[in-house]
Amino acid sequence: EAEVAQSPRYKITEKSQAVAFWCDPISGHATLYWYRQILGQGPELLVQFQDESVVDDSQLPKDRFSAERLKGVDSTLKIQPAELGDSAMYLCASSFLRTRAYEQFFGPGTRLTVL
């Protein structure tokens, strides 16, 4: 069964350092999402790609976060510099049909701890 792949699964870093997360969506899924999930809360969308184009980055803290999906397949989310408040689970998801965008397939996430 096809799955969304993410790496690393866990990342511990010190504040002011740079971190990067990688996501490989399910093959053929044109839409890719990055979410941040703080412990005890629901996922919050950071950025959404349609193929290689950003369609929503309204909640992305652009002074420190960046995301790219250069060839419209896999994607990288970067934080530079990391802050203590960035500690969270970072989830990647993908979807296939525009008319079923509510059906998103999530990866296992990257748990980030900033010390």
Binding site: V4, T31, Y33, G40, Q41, G42, P43, E44, L45, Q48, V55, D56, L91, A93, S95, R98, T99, R100, A101, Y102, E103, Q104, F105, F106, G107, P108, G109
Partner: protein, 114 residues
């Protein structure tokens, strides 16, 4: 207006009982309401979804009840099993928008006792 409010925060149910989780929304433009299930260490997975022109949808032991006038919807888990123990998120989506983004509720942690 973009929020989805979910309750309760946590729920303990005996095996065989009914689990009920409630959500409320404000934005009447939302056009799909999915529920996601998340196990520890895993990403959320779609459980069931409903459109606002449908009052109820059932899939196996899982049922969504939708009250459009009250802007509320709920998930009922019948004959709850220990394997149902997980965190459940309601969500709302604007499929008709350019993004179709999901707005998630805060989550409900369900524990089903054997």
């Amino acid at each position: 207006q973009q929020q989805v409010k979910q309750s309760p925060q946590s729920l303990i149910v005996q095996k065989g009982g009914i689990s009920i989780i409630n959500c409320a929304y404000e934005n009447t433009a939302f056009d799909y309401f999915p529920w996601y299930q998340q196990f520890p260490g895993k990403g959320p997975a779609l459980l069931i979804a409903i459109r606002p022109d449908v009052s109820e949808k059932k899939e196996g032991r899982f049922t969504i009840s939708f009250n459009k006038s009250a802007k509320q919807f709920s998930l009922h888990i019948m004959d709850s099993q220990p394997g149902d123990s997980a965190t459940y998120f309601c969500a709302a989506s604007l499929i008709s928008s350019n993004t179709g983004k999901l707005i998630f509720g805060q989550g409900t942690t369900l524990q089903v006792k054997p």
